[in-house]
Amino acid sequence: MTVQIRASQDGATATFHLRGEIDLANHVAVEEQLTRAISNEATLVRVDLTEVSFIDSSGLRVLFALTTRLERLQIGLELVAPEASPARRVIELSGLASLVTVRTDLA
């Protein structure tokens, strides 16, 4: 896989750090891994895209789907993408930024 996912937990907040590239080849696996790892006890999910060097419309599909699903379950979602990072640009271009909170760092 050209992408790695590392999960960390802090109370009821689950953070997923993604590193690598998300594209047509692996976006389904990424979505499965993320959804499987989120339990209904979480109150907030953060997806850290700081180390994502490439994400295209397939990757966006994953983020949009996650947004919809977590909203339904009343679990909060935050995306982390530094200014001018590949992920940030794509998020802004796609209009996702108006649906979900996007932070520049994990702090």
Binding site: T2, G20, E21, D23, L24, A25, N26, S53, F54, D56, S57, S58, L60, R61, F64, A65, A84, P86, R89, V90, L93, S94
Partner: protein, 541 residues
């Protein structure tokens, strides 16, 4: 069954025996392999001595075991891979003590081989096979009926043993060398990968005689446009060194895709080698080149320094790198990684000591000769010049491995053309190649990212929509005219409208990241042309 005595009429005479022994050396069947030659010899031995069984076991020095290699009358010893540890049992004793042994009682207390007992062998005579005073194996013969082997029998068998050793050793060396070469050819890259922005060339020449084995080189795509360059030398010679080299090479690749820190890769490799292959040693030099090709990060484990030729002023010098211990020596210390700038047009030569070492001459002489010889217009020309200057027509004792890497100057940059099957995994390859090519145009990171995004969408479309289940070809071409970049993405399938829900973002991304997007649909396929002015590189090439 009666006891046979020495004066029995059907036993061969001394004359017969001599003739048969001489016959053994006439087994000039050059094309037979070792087992066949030995089996043939054993036939004659059994006849000459009037015995029922014969076997040859050869010593595997590394494991300290005798391996049944040929047998007559007890073929199962060979078929079942019988191994006798030195010092144990009958054959083990002969090898350990380097002298003949006669057994008149054959049971589990005196022999290890269950086959000897099962066949009802009652008497055994064995002698060591010696070469230069060292044991290389054991030859033994046995009889179903009890027999008193005489001193004459022993001397005769000893003579046979000598002849066997001299007849078969050259064959064993040759077949081992064949195996090593085959293994090594299988392990070394046949063709170097095509990496945009880099010129690559290499040579591997096995040393004469037994000196084939542990040298290797490797060029690795690490994902995201990073490139790994490896040169290494496992200690020792022959098949064993080549096998260890295969493992080290493979393990390095595994660690290389996990971390881009070359010191970390070598430390892990060291750990693995010492854990699983204790006692083995290797020198390795590993360089990780950034996607921009601007610099490489190098870690050196006891290996000779690479040569760097810089085009401005044409200076050639050895890299001044900290030299950490080779792999396999000790653990628990920190390995170094050094950043080395690589200007456009610069060339790096990685090599093994076989290229510069000559018996009786200090190594600095060879190194200086390399430095003075390394020159040529391309990586390939440099390889050829070095090999003819340092190797010429001599047969070197040691292997030589040579890898030359050139960072192509920007104006030498040819268009990037890729033809691949339209499947999801190729998208990452395209990005990797494109990233390097784009960076070597001098475009900055942001522009590169946007171009990759646009191209990614166009290529993903082909993978998803252009073909039916049988698939088809995806053809991508990048070219630059001054600061204008043109990318064409072609397929020869049939265009169809996007399907499913939650789609349509791709086209918007493509439009946003390009100055112009043209889509030409024909019955023969679709061509998407993306044009963009690379603002970060200004005008002109």
């Amino acid at each position: 069954m009666g006891v046979r005595t020495a004066s029995s009429a059907d036993e061969p005479t001394a004359e017969d025996r001599l003739r048969l022994i001489e016959g053994i050396t006439d087994v000039g069947v050059a094309l037979q392999d070792v087992e066949d030659v030995l089996t043939d010899l054993l036939d004659r031995v059994c006849e000459a001595l009037g015995v029922d069984t014969g076997a040859v076991l050869l010593l595997d020095a590394r494991s300290g075991e005798l391996v049944a290699t040929a047998a007559r009358g007890i073929e199962e010893e060979v078929r079942q891979g019988l191994r006798i540890p030195l010092h144990q049992g009958f054959a083990g004793r002969i090898a350990a003590e380097k002298r003949p042994v006669v057994l008149d009682r054959v049971d589990a207390t005196t022999v290890i081989s269950p086959h000897l007992v099962a066949r009802g062998i009652q008497s055994l005579l064995g002698v060591p096979l010696l070469e230069g005073g060292e044991v290389v194996g054991v030859l033994h013969v046995g009889t179903h009926a009890p027999r008193r082997f005489t001193d004459e029998d022993v001397s005769l068998l000893q003579v046979v043993a000598d002849r066997i050793t001299s007849a078969t050793r050259p064959r064993i060396a040759a077949s081992e060398r064949q195996a090593t070469l085959a293994l090594q050819r299988g392990l070394l890259p046949h063709a170097l990968p095509d990496i945009a922005g880099l010129g690559l060339a290499s040579r591997y020449v096995p040393g004469g005689g037994n000196a084939v084995g542990g040298d290797w080189y490797d060029v690795l795509r690490l994902g995201g446009g990073w490139v790994g360059l490896v040169i290494g030398d496992v200690s020792g010679h022959g098949l064993h060194a080549a096998v260890i080299m295969g493992r080290v090479r493979s393990a390095l690749r595994a660690y290389a895709i996990e971390t881009r820190d070359p010191a970390d890769v070598l430390s892990r490799l060291d750990n693995k080698l010492q854990h699983f292959e204790a006692g083995e040693m290797a020198t390795v030099l590993y360089a990780v080149v950034e996607p921009s090709l601007e610099q490489a990060h190098v870690s050196c484990a006891g290996h000779l320094p690479p040569l760097l030729t810089v085009p401005d002023g044409e200076s050639t010098r050895f890299l001044d790198l900290p030299v950490d211990p080779p792999l396999g020596v000790r653990l628990g210390f920190r390995r170094h990684a050094t950043s080395v700038p690589i200007p456009p047009g610069a060339r790096l030569c990685f090599y093994t000591d076989g290229l510069v070492e000559e018996r009786g001459t200090p190594i600095d002489v060879g190194l200086e000769r390399l430095r003075a010889t390394a020159g040529g217009d391309t990586a390939e020309a440099t390889c050829a010049t070095i090999m003819s200057g340092l190797v010429g027509s001599s047969i070197l004792e040691d292997d030589v491995a040579l890898l030359v890497v050139e960072r192509l100057a920007v104006d030498e940059q040819a268009p990037l053309e890729l033809r691949l099957t339209a499947e999801p995994p190729v998208l990452a390859h395209i990005r990797s190649a494109a990233r390097q090519w784009l960076r070597s145009t001098g475009a900055d990171a942001d522009e590169v990212d946007e171009v990759l995004l646009a191209v990614g969408e166009a290529t993903s479309n082909v993978v998803e929509h252009a073909y039916g289940p049988e698939g088809g070809e995806l053809h991508v071409r990048f070219e630059r005219d001054g600061s204008t970049l043109t990318v064409t993405v072609r397929d020869h399938g049939r265009w169809r409208a996007p399907r499913g829900t939650d789609r349509g973002r791709g086209a918007a991304l493509m439009e946003h990241c390009s100055d112009e997007v043209r889509v030409d649909r024909t019955p023969g396929g679709t061509k998407v042309t993306l044009v963009r002015t690379l603002r970060s590189i200004g005008g002109g090439s």
